[in-house]
């Protein structure tokens, strides 16, 4: 039963991914073409310059460069019609073949867009997953506490705090934290993932990364756990009012088991959904946040690519982010299905 569900969701995810990549290709085809044309012109011009020092006549050079131009056009498919190009681009993107960047280099110096983009994925995950785990734990515990005594002082004040930070941009808080804890009171480093030069030894390295993780994670957690607590509280409170809770209490089940067994287990699917969705949103949305802290993740790459107008990297990052986001959604559905027996086991006899 569950396996059917899993396969359905996976296939669904892949199909959506292909559709999205296709849509991206359609939208951005023109711009990509522009970039490639410009790049080709530069290449040909460079070749012309190199040749002009040799012993070919201007006539011959002109002819040669035209041949080169045609050659490049063929390689980059510019000689094909627009629909064909869109299709080829789609196929390429789906297998993550993005070609080369215009300016940006990876940490090893490669200009292959896929390398550049892929190496940023684990860094982004490190930052946001760490923050997410911490703020989910805090939020969950706080939310359960709030649900146990609804309307209490704790409940009310924490709810108000939730609303206060509701519209606060994380990157702005990041700026404030930096002004305070990096420049006014120099407690934390001013950015990046590791110090330059990076320390020797894996323990020292890990410590260094933690040192750099601290302030951004702190900023994210300070903003994030309120929302988690609020939603957890609502979900748990709603669950606690269900009839089966009253029924469990009537059967003499102790309150602790009622709360953590009956209530939380039932509330788990929506809570997990909420937590993971928040994590996904933060990953895909926190481009500026990474930029403020110069954290070399997917988001920061975006910013750099925008500044340098490196369209291939931008496209590659977009496609990759979409894939990560989509995978997250699929995984979310799978976990939800696993936790909720109504889906796991299926319908009536």
């Amino acid at each position: 039963m569950y396996w059917k569900y899993v396969i359905k969701r996976l296939i669904n995810g892949v199909i959506i991914f292909i559709i999205l990549v296709f849509i991206y290709s359609v939208i951005f085809n023109v711009q990509l073409e522009q970039t490639v044309r410009t790049m080709i012109e530069e290449k040909v011009r460079a070749e012309e310059m190199a040749l002009s020092t040799g012993n070919m006549t201007p006539q011959q050079i002109k002819q040669y460069s035209q041949e080169r131009r045609d050659h490049y056009y063929r390689i980059y498919n510019l000689d094909k019609s627009v629909p064909e190009r869109v299709l080829i681009n789609t196929v390429n993107s789906v297998v993550f073949n993005f070609g080369n960047s215009t300016i940006i280099k990876s940490s090893e110096g490669s200009m292959d867009v896929r390398t550049i983009v892929f190496e940023t994925i684990p860094r982004t995950l490190l930052l946001f997953a760490t923050a997410a785990i911490i703020d989910i734990i805090i939020g969950l515990l706080l939310g359960i506490k709030k649900a146990q005594k609804p309307g209490s002082g704790l409940d009310k004040t924490t709810s108000v705090s939730t609303m206060i930070v509701f519209g606060m941009p994380s990157w702005w808080l990041g700026m404030l934290m930096m002004m305070l804890f990096v420049y006014t009171i120099p407690l934390f480093p001013s950015g990046g993932m590791v110090s330059t030069p990076p320390p020797e030894g894996s323990m020292a390295m890990a410590g260094d990364v933690l040192y750099h993780l601290a302030l951004p994670v702190l900023t994210l957690v300070v903003l994030g756990f309120w929302g988690r607590a609020f939603i957890t509280r609502n979900i748990v409170l709603g669950t606690l009012q269900e009839d089966f809770i009253m029924s469990a209490r009537a059967r003499g089940i102790p309150e602790r088991k009622v709360l953590y067994g009956h209530a939380m287990k039932t509330a788990a699917p929506p809570i997990v959904t909420m937590a993971l969705l928040a994590l996904l949103a933060s990953i895909s949305g926190n481009i500026v946040f990474e930029g403020i802290f110069s954290w070399p993740g997917m988001g920061n790459l975006y910013w750099v690519a925008v500044e340098q107008n490196d369209i291939p990297v931008l496209m590659g990052d977009l496609t990759t982010t979409t894939m990560v986001y989509l995978s997250g959604l699929v995984i979310l559905d799978l976990i939800y299905g696993f936790l909720d027996p109504r889906i796991k086991v299926g319908g009536k006899e």
């Binding site: 009839d243 089966f244 009253m246 089940i253 027996p341 109504r342 319908g347």
Partner: protein, 329 residues
Amino acid sequence: MANNNKKEKVLEVNNLKLYYRTSMGEVKAVDDISFFLRKGETLGVVGESGCGKTTMGTALLKMPTPPGYIAGGEIKIAGQDIVPLTEKEIRKNIRWEKISMVFQGAMNCLTPVYTIGKLMMETLQEHRQMSKSEAYDRMVKYLGYVGLPEHILNKYPHELSGGMKQRVVIATGLFLEPKVVVCDEPTTALDVVVQAQIINLLKELKEKLDLSFIFITHDLATEAEVSDRIQVMYAGKIAEIGTNQQIYGEQGASHPYTRRLLAATPKLHEKVAELAFIPGTPPDLLHPPSGCRFHLRCDVAMDKCKVEEPPLVEIEDDHYVACWRCPKK
């Protein structure tokens, strides 16, 4: 009040008051009622919606739905008053041990993420020191009583039909063999065929296991099938308590409300030109009317009824009525 050849009382309620605290004041959902249940009998409790019967049901387990609370009175189960006991004592010794509840099966009263087996096992192990296999045997035995096969234990609630869920709820309510079982509208949301099955099942089990039931419903027909004695409630008060015969019999009930309630139920074999109904609406329990609570809708109200509240009086053997119009026989 009881005769010598009658069985002992397993449940005795005296002057029970159940109020709801709301932002607009106190709603007197149940206002000073007294009744009892004998061993081995079924006491049916009927009344319109809002008359207080369901509130009373959960209160008997000392679990009034918040913001309700017990404002006074005693609830004696097998002679022990549970009102002054602490929550802990009640949870450990009273609930499900001495008194249990059979909920409306269509209600969402089975935790959706637990299998039936886990639910039942948890309840058993909470109350009795049993090994897993002993518990398992008892569960299977009681599932057998309600006509369900063993493999139900591995199913989740959503995999069962309404009727099956109701049977599970019944089995769970009975397997600790409590003294009193409160059934709150157990058949209301089921279709007629299943209803009949469940009712027969309940009657069977009562005989077999010598149980004592309180059967709460608004459906008079079901009540007649199942109950030995019937308690009619109105606006938080008891209007009448009588045996099946006394209420439904030829003589007819005594309390005007009961009579009109019966008249309003269409009978299968009688032609009815017009459906009888009781004019007016149930009173506001925030500010109940003075005197007899029914007097505003009663067709035989006297002046005394508007001013003085009639007490519940035993007008004949095992027949109690609260009405100025009903003298002792």
